[in-house]
């Protein structure tokens, strides 16, 4: 079975790469993936999300075997994995006033919350299904790079759905799922892989004082897939010409691991332009 790491060995696009380029900050994308600057730190939220995913994988594996996961074991697993992750990752940066133990407690509460929301009637079809598919535009022309990624979960209940797990600092606005790039990317891949359309659902646990579980379902059309491919083509042209633009108002700026490189970016760029001129 090809793994996501195998697919990463070739030049590619992925949802996280596209989202970073198109929606977060193309300059951050460039620092990380084009100029390959080593990030100064890993934001704690990224590590926290990663631990949460691993717990959800474990829960889903138990469900796939037709068994019921035990809440107490799942919360204990989060606690173990989180502490291990903090220990192993060298440069996790916590938000001000938040401790590792605060986050351990929050993670266990979120896990308990999502466990209460599990629908036993849902059948788990696959977990962490890696994919690599060609990117083909409306005229049938394929791009050089494939689209790669991993589907968190595929379930079956009144039709098939790709499910993505999320933790969120706040409740989702009504149209967030509708406008998100992620379902477009994943459903495009699913259609290429299996030749059929599929639904998409975000399973979100909101980090409120008392965690809240939300589900947001959405679908995508062929026209939306074609639009995505045009966005990718545009991104490729921008990369080719090194047209990277800082998103000065991105919510991500405060926790950006490339903040230092970003703050001096315009000075370096001026130098380059003067030399070239």
């Amino acid at each position: 079975m090809g793994t996501l790491n195998d697919y990463r060995d070739r030049e590619h696009w992925s949802y996280s790469s596209l989202n970073q380029f198109l929606n977060i900050c193309s300059l951050q994308w460039a620092f990380q993936r084009f100029y390959k600057i080593v990030p100064k730190f890993t934001p704690a939220a990224i590590s926290f999300g990663s631990t949460f995913h691993r717990v959800m994988e474990a829960i889903s594996s138990i469900r796939k075997e037709g068994k019921s996961p035990v809440k107490k074991e799942a919360t204990a697993l989060f606690n173990d994995l989180w502490h291990r992750q903090v220990k192993e990752e060298q440069n996790i940066r916590l938000d001000e006033g938040i401790t590792v133990e605060d986050m351990a407690k929050q993670g266990q509460e979120l896990t308990a919350c999502i466990m209460d929301a599990i629908d036993p009637a849902e059948q788990v079809v696959s977990i962490n299904e890696p994919f690599a598919v060609p990117i083909i535009d409306a005229e049938g022309n394929s791009l050089d790079k494939p689209l790669i990624g991993e589907l968190d979960l595929v379930i079956e209940k009144n039709g098939r759905k790709v499910v993505d797990w999320k933790t969120s600092a706040r409740r989702w606005p009504k149209f967030q799922a509708k406008h998100s790039l992620q379902p477009t990317v994943f459903l495009y891949a699913y259609k290429q892989l299996h030749g059929v359309d599929c639904g998409f659902r975000f399973d979100v646990v909101v980090k409120n004082k008392t965690p809240v579980f939300e589900q947001h379902e959405t679908t995508r059309t062929t026209d939306q897939f074609n639009r995505m491919v045009e966005l990718i083509k545009l991104a490729e042209r921008m990369v080719q010409h090194e047209h990277f633009c800082p998103n000065e108002t991105s919510y991500y700026c405060d926790s950006c691991p490339f903040g230092e490189a970003c703050s001096s970016w315009h000075r370096e760029r001026s130098k380059l332009i003067s030399v070239a001129a």
Binding site: A132, I136, S142, P146, Q192, L193
Partner: protein
């Protein structure tokens, strides 16, 4: 003093490029003793040619070190070099498939069925080339 010149050349198609091929050629010149019997000369010709042929095949399959075996070694899984097909190769494959109205999922199914690869991106360079050939010759058709 006798001089023996053995040479071997092989042309292979370039994946993803119509009407293109790459040619690999090697030749060796050795001196043989005048005193050799015709049968011995024949043996030396055979051995020398084998060395040259192996050298070309070795280069073609990305092996830098020659082997001691006279017969060409079977590759891993029997499917040729284990190096994965390049993005350009896969692009050519999918473009060909599109012209023949074969979807990516069908192409993936064929890759699995024929070569045991999970998807076209898991094909080796050699297997991708073979799949391209199957598409070109019409041996692979839309379901």
């Amino acid at each position: 003093m006798l001089k023996l010149n053995a040479s071997f050349s092989k042309k292979i198609p370039v994946a993803g490029q119509d009407f293109s091929s790459q040619s690999y050629h090697a030749s060796v010149e050795v001196e043989l003793s005048d005193a050799l019997e015709p049968r011995q000369i024949q043996e030396r010709i055979h051995e020398t040619f084998k060395i040259v042929k192996e050298a070309v095949e070795t280069e073609l399959n990305g092996k830098s070190q020659p082997t001691n075996k006279t017969e060409f070694q079977p590759e891993r899984n029997g499917n040729g070099s284990s190096e994965k097909a390049s993005n350009k190769q896969i692009k050519y494959l999918t473009d060909l498939a599109r012209v023949r109205d074969i979807s990516v999922s069908e192409l993936n199914s064929q890759a699995k069925k024929i070569y045991g690869a999970d998807s076209i991106y898991d094909l080796t360079k050699k297997d991708a080339s073979k799949l391209v050939d199957s598409l070109k010759t019409g041996n692979l058709k839309a379901a």
